[in-house]
């Protein structure tokens, strides 16, 4: 590796350290050690949380992947397993927890509910997938995924971590990532990113229903 590539804009080596530090194959060791000690956050939501607890118990035992240290505090955890139905009342808290996690951080959407709303999607107080609010790395289908299915997902996550390189990974590039805006509970859930849209939709005369109906059929 040439010196130039080490000075590329992707990472920030302070001037006094230039020429003294290098990130080469150490990178791989770093990724390897990181993938073997991922600490999940102890955060259960619904039915899937029971399967998550089971995963930590003796039959499936995630200690084999270095994940047994379930941290109740987001500040000490590497990834968040969104284990269950995400309700509108709970979304602000989840986003806040995500913002509090130190980088690099990952999110696993466990089960149909967390991935896309699940069987409760049609209801009025369930959001259709946590990925509308925070970025999700691995999706695990199933309702609930069996512990082995969950483990399969976690292995997929470790594979992803293993592939990450300091140079290319977004966690180590310049500039801190902005915090995800926390939704607010109003007459319904309000995502700050959609304020303009909400205003536009609520301050517009309601369209007659019939054209919308035909459009649906075509779709």
């Amino acid at each position: 590796m040439s010196d130039d590539s080490l000075q590329s804009s992707n990472y920030d080596i302070p001037p006094e350290m230039q020429g003294t530090v290098s990130i080469t194959s150490l990178d791989k060791v770093y990724a390897w050690s990181r993938k073997n000690s991922m600490w999940p956050m102890m955060f259960g939501l619904a039915c899937c949380a029971i399967e998550m607890v089971v995963l930590a118990a003796s039959r499936f035992d995630i200690a084999r992947f270095g994940m047994e240290v379930m941290r109740p505090s987001p500040r000490q955890s590497d990834f968040l397993i969104v284990s269950g139905t995400v309700t509108k009342k709970m979304v602000p808290q989840i986003v806040r927890l995500y913002n509090q996690m130190p980088e690099p951080k990952y999110v696993v959407a466990m089960g149909a509910c967390a991935s896309g709303g699940g069987p409760f999607k049609e209801g009025y107080s369930v959001v259709s997938g946590i990925d509308k609010f925070i970025p999700v790395d691995v999706y695990i289908p199933g309702c609930p995924p069996t512990p082995q299915a969950l483990m399969n997902g976690l292995i997929a996550l470790t594979k992803k971590v293993d592939k990450e390189r300091i140079k290319t990974s977004k966690w180590y590039s310049k500039g801190a990532e902005a915090a995800v805006p926390v939704p607010v509970l109003g007459p319904d859930l309000m995502d700050p990113r959609k304020y303009a849209l909400i205003y536009e939709q609520t301050h517009r005369p309601i369209e007659p229903e019939i054209p919308a109906e035909t459009e649906q059929k075509e779709g």
């Binding site: 069987p119 259709s128 509970l185 319904d188 849209l197 301050h203 059929k217 779709g219």
Partner: protein, 579 residues
């Protein structure tokens, strides 16, 4: 004994006693009595004090949109046993105001709040009528029949768009906000001031202040993300030093519109949804729902199916109680080891559930008039091995390790005391009620299925503290074991289903309340049918939810460290609390 006999013998015709104020519900298929809203308080008081109906089990509302009426349904029991006395109050829909029973029965507290939240029935005289499952500021009352959710497609399932045109794609793409939200017209997000939970915190701050010493209380907020709350549950506690002087649970963080979805679903479609109520013991939920619908349909499962049902329900109870010991240990501070022991036993039971029903947790095994499929080959032998060998041995192990353990005794004895009067008044059920000295077990008080011919004891302990709750569960697990031994011994051969399996059942019009003694307590399903394929009203009387009413009584005066212990000993599952 036929059901009619019981009704004639034990439920008095109160329309004679309170003539002019109470009339029989004359609608075909319905049962109970209709009371005028203005007479409700005096009649309920008289029923409680003179006729002994001292246990208000369920309060719920039904929206009769075509008639323009709102009905509030009360289920009252005698704590010595017997069937329910059903009272109904009808009020106009636009002005739904009913006197609150809060001061007669504390169990009405949260159920009335829920009816206000979801149906918009105002309870006059309720001291704290706030929203409970949704949040303050939420627009509308979602269980009203004219309230439409943002993803509304059709009134009832099956939706016509799925077949034969087969419209597919993400439904959120059809919503203007690309998410299932809706806002009132003219709503401006920029000027919206979120309704803070000031009311909750100020009331917490007011209590327990000592004017003389000028001390202040500290308000502590536990949850919804807290490792010891067993899910997304939140409590606001006011502390005087270390002592809890005020505690208000806040819930709804897992409110999944179970009842709204249940009213769109056909009867059979609700079965897998009931699994997700108390997701630790799904077989019991299936049981309660199947019983309620069977009551309406007037069918009974064949003998073998009844045995299989009881077997599954008791395995569930055993598993649930063992799980709760694990949690008890965990809450006492022994980090994860005991949980692992409990989960190991649970896994073995789950293996049986998986072999029988196909899924570890979401069994979806019961059908109306039977069960989904017969026991696969070899399962009965495995159950036998468990119930005769492993389960008694493991219970003895737990007994040895916990019952005389000084840490357990010091922490649990005298902690979170609930007296018998309080327990009955708060509508506590299951082990929580029996630990307070009330021998009320639905399997004996109002027998269903084959429990009347099984030999088991109703466990009762008298101190009403956490330790007695633990002992009650332990003894109950032993009784479950005893029932299981009888069941696997006597299980007959034969059909497992009455009639042909059908994906749409015909349910005659009427109302029914089916209840079972779930592991957590009385699990009831109140169903109103109009004769259509979908229930008109589908209400779940969730034991965890109503047991939590007692939490404040248990915690007040105790130390903050014991709150976690008390909560664990109530044994809640959030899926059921919030539904």
């Amino acid at each position: 004994m036929s059901e009619e006999q019981i009704t004639v013998v034990q439920i008095p015709d109160i329309s004679l006693q309170y003539e002019g104020r109470v009339v029989k519900d004359a609608r075909v298929g319905y049962s109970g009595f209709i009371v005028g809203a203005e007479h409700l308080l005096e009649i309920v008081q008289s029923l409680r004090d003179e006729l002994g109906f001292d246990y208000l089990s369920s309060v719920t509302g039904v929206d009769y949109l075509p008639e323009g009426k709102m009905e509030v349904v009360y289920h009252l029991y005698r704590s010595i046993g017997g069937p329910a006395l059903v009272l109904k109050v009808q009020v106009p829909r636009d002005e739904a105001v009913v006197p609150s029973l809060y001061h007669l029965f504390k169990s009405a507290d949260w159920q009335e709040r829920e009816a206000w939240d979801l149906l918009g029935i105002r309870f006059e005289g309720h001291p704290d009528l706030r929203r409970i499952l949704t949040w303050e500021g939420f627009a509308g009352h979602p269980l009203r029949k004219d309230w439409k959710e943002p993803y509304f497609e059709e009134e009832t399932k099956p939706f016509k768009s799925r077949w034969p045109e087969g419209i597919t794609g993400h439904i959120e793409d059809k919503n203007p906000f690309h998410d299932n939200v809706q806002y009132p017209d003219g709503f401006d997000p920029e000027t919206w001031v979120p309704q803070a939970e000031e009311a909750l915190y100020t009331s917490a701050k007011k209590i327990g202040r000592d004017a003389e010493l000028h001390t202040d209380t500290i308000v502590v907020n536990l949850g919804p993300q807290h490792p010891s709350t067993h899910g997304v549950f939140r409590m606001v506690a006011a502390l005087d030093g270390e002592q809890v002087v005020f505690l208000k649970p806040v819930m709804g963080y897992l409110h999944r519109n179970h009842e709204k979805i249940g009213e769109r679903n056909t009867y059979l479609q609700n079965m897998p949804f009931t699994d997700r109520l108390d997701y630790v013991s799904s077989m019991s939920n299936n049981f309660g729902y199947a019983l309620a619908v069977e009551k309406l349909m007037g069918i009974k499962p064949p003998e073998r199916a009844d045995y299989i049902r009881v077997m599954m329900a008791e395995l569930t109870r055993w598993m649930n109680h063992v799980f709760s010991f694990g949690f008890l240990w965990n809450d006492l501070g022994s980090y994860f080891t005991p949980m692992i022991y409990a989960l190991e036993e649970r896994e073995l039971v789950l293996d049986i559930f998986e072999a029988v029903s196909g899924s570890r947790m979401m069994c979806n095994y019961f059908r109306f008039g039977g069960v989904a499929r017969d026991l696969p080959v070899g399962v009965l032998d495995r159950v036998k091995e468990l119930v005769f060998e492993r389960m008694p041995r493991r219970l003895d192990d737990i007994d040895k390790m916990l019952t005389t353990n000084e840490i357990v005794r010091n922490r649990c004895i005298g902690c979170g005391v609930l007296t018998a009067e309080q327990a009955i008044n708060n509508g506590a059920s299951g082990p929580n009620l029996r630990a307070s000295g009330v021998p009320y077990d639905i399997r004996r008080a109002d027998p269903y299925s084959i429990y009347d011919r099984l030999d088991f004891d109703v466990v009762v302990h008298y101190h009403g503290d956490v330790y007695d709750r633990y002992l009650t569960r332990l003894d109950e697990a032993r009784q479950s074991n005893r029932i299981l031994q009888q069941v696997v011994r006597d299980i007959p051969e034969g059909p497992i289903m009455t009639g042909k399996p059908a994906y749409q059942v015909r349910v005659p019009a009427g109302d029914a309340y089916g209840r079972v003694e779930g592991p957590k307590g009385e699990l009831g399903f109140y169903i109103v049918s109009t004769g259509k394929p979908n229930p008109w009203r589908y209400h779940v009387r969730a034991p965890s939810f109503i047991n939590l009413t007692s939490l404040e009584d248990m915690c007040r005066g105790g130390k903050i460290a014991d709150v976690v212990l008390n909560l664990g000993a109530v044994d809640i599952v959030l899926g059921e609390v919030d539904r």
